[in-house]
Structures are given as C-alpha cells and as structure tokens.
Subunit: 304 residues, 2 copies
Amino acid sequence: MTLPLGQGAHSPCDYSEPALLKEIFGRGSEHGSRRRSRGRVETVTRNRVGGITIGQAAAFAGVTVKTVRHYHRLGLLAEPRRDSSGYRRYGSDDLLRLVQVRTLATAGVPLSEIASLLGAGPEQFAAALADVERRLTDRITDLVARRDALHRLADDRALLPDRALAVLDRMTELGFSPDYVAGQREALVLFRALLPEGLDHFLTSLEQRLDDPEYVDLIKRSVAAASWEPDDPQIEELARAIAANLLADRELLALPAGFRIGPDTATRYGLVDHHREDRSPVWARLNALIQAELRSAGVPVPDP
Amino acid sequence: MTLPLGQGAHSPCDYSEPALLKEIFGRGSEHGSRRRSRGRVETVTRNRVGGITIGQAAAFAGVTVKTVRHYHRLGLLAEPRRDSSGYRRYGSDDLLRLVQVRTLATAGVPLSEIASLLGAGPEQFAAALADVERRLTDRITDLVARRDALHRLADDRALLPDRALAVLDRMTELGFSPDYVAGQREALVLFRALLPEGLDHFLTSLEQRLDDPEYVDLIKRSVAAASWEPDDPQIEELARAIAANLLADRELLALPAGFRIGPDTATRYGLVDHHREDRSPVWARLNALIQAELRSAGVPVPDP
DNA sequence: GGTTGACCTTGACCCGAGGGCAGGGTCGAC
DNA sequence: GTCGACCCTGCCCTCGGGTCAAGGTCAACC
C-alpha cells in the first residue's frame, strides 16, 4: 500500500478511450510489444518479469546506464536482484534510492559523501548539507575571481598594472623600438612575479628617469650598442656615463619602503636584471661594467 | 640589457648596511651558504652554475615542483638545459614563460589551450579569452544553481514541493503513523520523479479526499490491515468500500490536463503504485482487489 | 530458423590538473 | 661518514563518469 487515497486506483488514470488505453498500457495477453515514439524504441514487456531493467531505471532517473553501474560500484546503490539472464531488476525501493542519490548528486554533493548523508539523522544531515553548501560557495567565489582575472587579461596577456603599461607606452612615444619595448614588458612581468613589493617603487623611478633627456639618450645608445663589437672601447665610456647619470640621483636607488628581503632576493633580482642579456654580449658587458662602477661608488649591487 | 634605466644597477638595491647586504646576497667567495627562515632551508649557491633549479622556479612562480614537471610533460614549457647532474636549469626566459602560463592557468584557461593561446596574435588571443570567459560563466551559473538546489534540500532531503509537504503534515495531524507518513513521502518522491506532470493534479485530489472523514477512516483501516491474515474476508469488504468511496467522486480519477502519455507510463505508474506493497501481503491483495473493482466499474487501470 | 537491432553484462582505459609515493641520485653542511 | 634537503623518473590515484571492446539475451521480422 503506497498511496493514501485509493492504494493504486486513485491516481490519475481515467483513460476512457479503449484504444488509447491499450496504446498506453499494453495488454497482458499479447506479451512483448514495441512501439516507436520519435525514433526511440521502448520495450514494455520485460516489466512483467518483476522490476525494471537498468536502462529504464536510468531513464526514469534521468541518468545514463553507466552512471547507475558507477553508483553500484561505489556502493552508493545496493545491487538489486538479478533475473535468470543475469540482468539487474530494479524495484521501487531501488529506484527511490537512485532518485535520492541523484537529487543530492545534482545538488553538488560529492558521491563519496552521499551514502553517509542518506544514512544520517536529520540534524547531521542538515549540518553536512551546510558544509557542502559552504564548499560550493567557496568554489563559486574562486571561479568568479578567476573569471575576473581573465577579464582583466583580455587587455594585456601579461597582466601588468596600468602604471606599467603607461610606462611602456611612454617608451614607445620616446622612440624606443617595438622589440626593445617588448623586452621591457617581459622584464616587468618578471619583476612583478619575482619582486612584487618593489614594483611600485621601481615604476616611480622609471617614470622620473624617462623625464631626463640625457638618460633617455644614453639608453638609446645602449640599445644601439647591441651591434657593436664586444671589445669596442665605447662600451666602457657608455657604462661610465650611465653610471654617472644614475649616481646623480642616488635616492632613486634606495630600497623601497616595505621591501621584504628574503634569502632569494639576489637570485630574483639577477633573473630580472639579466633578462635578455644573452641577446647581445655587449649588453652583458655593459651591464657588468655599470654594476662595477656603482659598486665602486659604494652602491651595493647583488652578485648572484 | 633588461631594464631601461640602468641595465641592472638602477633597481632598488641601495642596501647601505654591509652586514645586511651580505645577509641578503651572500658572497661570491664563500660558495654555498644556507640560511634558515621560518623552518625552511634555501640554497643560494647553485645559481652560480647558471640558472635556477626547478624548486626555485616553482617557488618563484608560486606552484609546486610537480606542477612544473607536469607542464613540461604537456609541452607547455620547453625542457630547459640540464647541468652536469641532470638537474634542470631555468633561465629568465623559462621563468617568464612559466609565469605567463601560470597567469593564464590561474585565470581558468585549460592547460590544453594555453600553448596555442600564447602563440596566437592579439585578436585571436582576445577572442579565445572571451570564449574561455563564457565557459567559466556557464560553470558558475551551473554551480550557483546547484547550491540553490542544495539550499532548498536543507529542509527536506526529498526535495518535495511545499504543497506535498503540507499534505504530509496534514496526514500526521489526522493521526497517521510516522512510518506510514514516511512511506507516503517516499511514494511522493517517486511520483515527482516518474510522473512530474501529474503531481499537481494528484496533490489536489489528495487534499480533497483528506477532507472526507469516511475516506480517512477507510485508509486508517487499510493501514491497520497490514497485520491481518492474508485471507481475511474483511479485506474484500474493505476493498469494496474503498472502491465505492473512490467512485463517488469520479472526476478526481480523471486524467490531468497536460499529462504526457509515453510508452512507459504504465511502468512508471506501477512503480509508484506498488511502492512498499511488499511490506505486507494484505496491502498487495487490497490493492489488487480495489483495482479489480474499479476496472469492473469501467475505470481503466494499468496492469503492467 | 536465421537475421536484425536494441538492450544487457563485465572489464579496461580515458579525461584535468596535478598529488602521492617509491626508489634512487646529488649536493652541501656538520 | 652521515644527515637532510633537493633532484630524477615512473607509476598509480583522484571525480564523475564517457568510451570502447567483446560477448550474451531478447523480441520482432522474414
């Protein structure tokens, strides 16, 4: 006895047209009839054996056969009895359980927790549900953050702050080549990743130095120096000039406030500093010479 | 030459205290020093060999060593050169690539798409990003829907509509046992899953019938009948009485508007109808008898 | 009675984005 | 010499199933 008002006959079943009735329910006498509805074929007769097959149970629950078997293997559903062919036969109890499992699964409860959840009392059930809901909320928050990060990326694949992009634009305006600016962009990406606390201070000094025409001119000469011979005496001269320019504004060389010094700082700094140095031996030499000049002037420079 | 304003020396490195300087950068003469910071040990000297190790690269990029190796295996990062021990040695180019990959990956871009994304032109890049963003939004929408479903589940693990819960409460008020009401709840869950278009109509008829004291009384006798002998002649009498009661209001037996009839309808109906019937042979017999009564009165009843 | 086509069975492998572990080599410091 | 940290490769694991393989069963049609 399942349903309160009529134990079976009270349900909406007043199909008064006999032909329709037969079409819907089939007949006990003609065993096994198939009817096509929109290309799919459904077998009705099996049910006589007692219990529905896995395909029907899956269809009724809105899942695939594989999913049902998956739940069996996880122990989430008890194995139903088998008929003489070895086919699984599902009763209403089995189907109810499947529907309950699916309800929780589609709500986002991990399969590994559903079994204990369905076996728990109401208060544990509610607590566990709240826990699952909290985890879902966390995942949503995380995904939203990712999407927002992605949205910001749409402008620049390097995800640099606006100030850095402005500085790069300024360089282009000042006549630096696209390739050089691209190199600077790369260096800034590394800087941001490796020395994030120093980026703001560095950008400030960069902005100020780009207002110094002498400095801009020296850097342009450095860029052009890539094609010089590695032992060109002009290199040393240029290095001295650049070092002198840098030393003229020593406070721009100061350590920024809040800069966190870790044991890796020299390594991180070196990676940023020597980026793209391998493209020209002149650059590497120029860099080393400037560092030596600064060092002899009392400015500490890492030597990793 | 990496950074525009000083090619290395311009960076924020004015550590004026010699002891601190040594602490930060180490010394070329003393090769290989370790220092502990919060329990972790970091090696500085390896970098002299040229390039950082996988552990450092991973730490700088904020990932695990496994992740970096995973990216190598996927071809997302080129294998860097190896030192004499077979250890991978990463340069700034490698690290830049790793940072770029991580930027996209943490933004939610699938790893399988990152390689082509980083190699694409700006407009393809933007288009691909928009596509990824759309997919992320879809996932978020889906998760939010799941969470909301979960939230509704917190009240009742069966996810029944409020009307159904009200009917169940009514039954409890009318004095039906908790076990019986639990069975009705299960049957309603099955009903909702298997015959969703019919649920509203069924609940309506249920509400009306529960207002009929004679009907309520008959059902209570049915519940009590579980402990009768299976061949008790009272069963037939009760079945006749229930059938008569049902037939007194035939329009409640009518097919609801909008009810979709599929080839499985009889099977679905049978599952709901016979649910928990196996708990008592009396219920099964009662059900069958009522069905026979209704059938002989011209009401079509499925016989799956 | 043979074929067709749909359905069922078990088992094994695949996805993403790595995690964990095994078993072994290498390095630097004590 | 030994310790601990780091590196190497390779294999199996996750979660929620999908896909393929190889074969058995059932009902309908010719």
